[in-house]
């Protein structure tokens, strides 16, 4: 704000108008620090993360333990969110299900963006036939609906948590590869890369030392966008019963079970729906805030 006040001093005759101007400037310069739309969602996410990571320590009934006294029960003592259609504790199932969602949500984008980055760097740096082949593979990848790819994988490879992470990660390859390719293409023509080449640096070294640091930021922003998407797709997959195998609970799976009794016991579908919606929304809000901040910082640096 220092330079604003000094600029006002120069023309400090018409008092009220200047004050209005100063306000307008202040609004324009509104510092882009993290506001409540970052911190409130962040708190929710931390809460969810703690609940899920330390799930075994909360003294909850096991997620697959059937309480014969309370089957399809609304919230009662001992079952704060009620029980599902088999009499299993809802809170416990939602928390244990959250472990699956969060694991996939973080692992899949890292796998996908990592692989996509490698492909994109190869295509963008070497051009030629490598570029052409990778381009066709990516187009082919995009031509099949993501869910169909996952269905295929779930049939062929079965539903372990690891395979779900990997096959979901594969979905993020095309876009990540395209972004990387464009950025690599851009940077590989720059002077500092040419200079490194002239010094006889190996291709690998150039990619790692010169290009990678420049393209990593948009990719990190991209991972942030992908986390909620991965959670949503995992939800869809487990809703169809094609994610991790039952009886391991997952949010989509609980919602699917709740759907069967939506008319009589709406809470079974609604609780996981609400929790999942809030979590995904908060990931979106936090990701968006960080992405803007990254953009600001980089703008300021240039």
């Amino acid at each position: 704000m220092a330079d604003v006040s000094s600029s006002n001093r120069g023309t400090a005759q018409a008092k009220p108008e200047i004050d209005r101007n100063a306000l307008a400037i202040a609004l324009h310069r509104k510092s882009r620090s993290f506001g409540p739309f970052f911190w409130i969602p962040m708190c929710w996410l931390i809460l969810v993360a703690i609940a899920c990571i330390f799930a075994p320590f909360w003294g909850l009934p096991p997620a697959d333990e059937i309480d014969w006294a309370y089957i399809q029960s609304p919230p009662v003592e001992g079952h704060p969110l009620g029980t599902d259609n088999l009499g299993r504790d809802m809170l416990s199932r939602i928390i244990w299900g959250g472990r699956v969602s969060l694991t996939v949500g973080f692992a899949a984008p890292f796998i996908g963006v990592g692989l996509g980055m490698i492909l994109g760097m190869i295509a963008g740096y070497y051009r030629g036939w490598a570029d052409e082949v990778i381009g066709i593979l990516i187009d082919a990848w995009l031509a099949i609906p993501g869910l169909v790819v996952l269905l295929l994988f779930s049939v062929v490879f079965g539903g372990s948590l690891f395979m779900v992470c990997v096959s979901l990660g594969l979905l993020f390859i095309p876009t990540a590869a395209r972004i990387t390719r464009a950025a690599t293409l851009n940077y590989s023509g720059r002077e500092f890369v040419l200079a490194a080449k002239a010094m006889g640096a190996s291709d690998f070294r150039i990619l790692r030392k010169e290009i990678f640091p420049n393209i990593i930021w948009p990719l990190i922003a991209f991972i942030l966008i992908d986390i909620p998407i991965a959670i949503v797709i995992e939800g869809a997959l487990s809703f169809l019963g094609l994610s991790v195998k039952a009886p391991t609970p997952s949010w989509g799976g609980i919602i699917a079970e709740g759907r069967e009794v939506l008319e009589t016991m709406p809470h079974i579908a609604m609780y996981p729906t609400i929790i999942m919606f809030l979590t995904v929304l908060c990931f979106n809000l936090v990701g968006d805030a960080i992405r803007r901040r990254l953009a600001d910082v980089r703008e300021g640096a240039i």
Partner: protein, 317 residues
């Protein structure tokens, strides 16, 4: 024209790659078809017999070539389970999925265009913020969750629309549309946000153009400037996206058809996945890829309508 030919060739290659990879996945990797068909406790001889019957013993490339040849002559194979002709099974169900997709895309556009225009008119204004917030909530709500909420409110709560089911067009237009509204809305409520954001970004840029300034200087009303002068030049990315979204929508219909009990291709595929009916899976994936490729080709043609520079083949940039 040359560009169009290049695109066609590229799309053909893409189709080849897609079908080949799918073929490899369903035929070579673990979970052998013959094992699946023979059942858990069958002997090795039984499995081998089925293999021989299906011709699985021969090299993959040969079988793939046979399958491709079949596809071109309209023989997409027969279901292992129901013995139904795969091509017939798909074409019987496709119109249903197609109707759902068109309805969803239509609803999404009907939401996205006014919302995008309203946001772009005053970026960071009140309308922009409200619409942006709604969009944020919307993308955070996957279609299967939206579907369940919609069923809960409009079918179970208010009883206005049926929760599941499908009526053919022969029982009347309204009878046909009524059960389609909630499924289409479930898909549209996710898709509209991407279209809206794309339109908004491009329109904000277009509204900075000199010809918009000239339209203002001509005394045109804001509404006319937005709809007549700015909308069409702002729609290019959105139209491209409509083509790319076909893949997403096809994926979306799978789950939505499952929830609402709509007999489309998506349900056929899911059923085939549950029963490990590989030849049907292969057919469905090929069909989806074909639909995607066609949709994107149509998008290329739509450009010509949007941009007179392409249509008239103008030489002056």
């Amino acid at each position: 024209m040359r560009y169009l030919l290049y695109r066609l060739r590229r799309l053909a290659i893409v189709l080849g790659v897609v079908t080949f990879i799918t073929f490899l996945l369903v035929n070579v990797l673990p979970g052998d078809v013959a094992y699946q068909m023979a059942g858990m406790d069958s002997s090795e001889e039984e499995v081998q017999a089925i293999r021989d019957e299906l011709g699985l013993g021969r090299p993959v490339l040969v079988r793939y070539a046979e399958w491709v040849g079949g596809v071109f002559t309209g023989d997409w194979g027969k279901s292992f389970i129901s013995d139904e002709n795969v091509w017939d099974a798909i074409t019987d169900r496709f119109p249903v999925s197609f109707e759902l997709m068109i309805l969803a895309q239509f609803l999404a556009l009907a939401m996205a265009i006014p919302a995008g225009i309203a946001s772009a008119f005053r970026p960071n204004g009140r309308a922009d913020r409200i619409i942006g917030g709604l969009a944020f909530a919307s993308v955070s709500m996957p279609s299967f969750m939206t579907a369940i909420l919609l069923i809960f409110v409009f079918a179970l709560g208010l009883g206005w629309l049926p929760a599941t089911g499908y009526e053919p067009l022969s029982s009347g237009l309204w009878a046909n549309l009524r059960p389609m509204i909630l499924p289409a809305l479930s898909l549209a409520l996710v898709e509209w946000t991407i279209l809206m954001r794309t339109l908004r970004v491009e329109m904000i840029a277009v509204l900075q153009e000199n010809y918009i300034a000239l339209a203002r200087a001509k005394g045109m009303s804001n509404l006319r400037i937005l709809l007549v002068h700015a909308l069409r030049p702002s729609s290019f990315s959105m139209i491209t996206l409509l083509g790319l979204q076909v893949a997403r929508l096809l994926g979306g219909t799978i789950i939505i058809e499952q929830i609402f009990g709509i007999p489309g291709v998506g349900r056929l595929l899911i059923h085939a996945v549950y029963t490990r009916d590989f030849i049907v899976i292969q057919g469905c994936v090929t069909f989806f890829a074909l639909a995607f490729v066609t949709a994107n080709f149509l998008v290329d043609i739509a450009y010509a309508w949007l941009d007179p520079r392409i249509r008239t083949g103008g030489a002056h940039g």
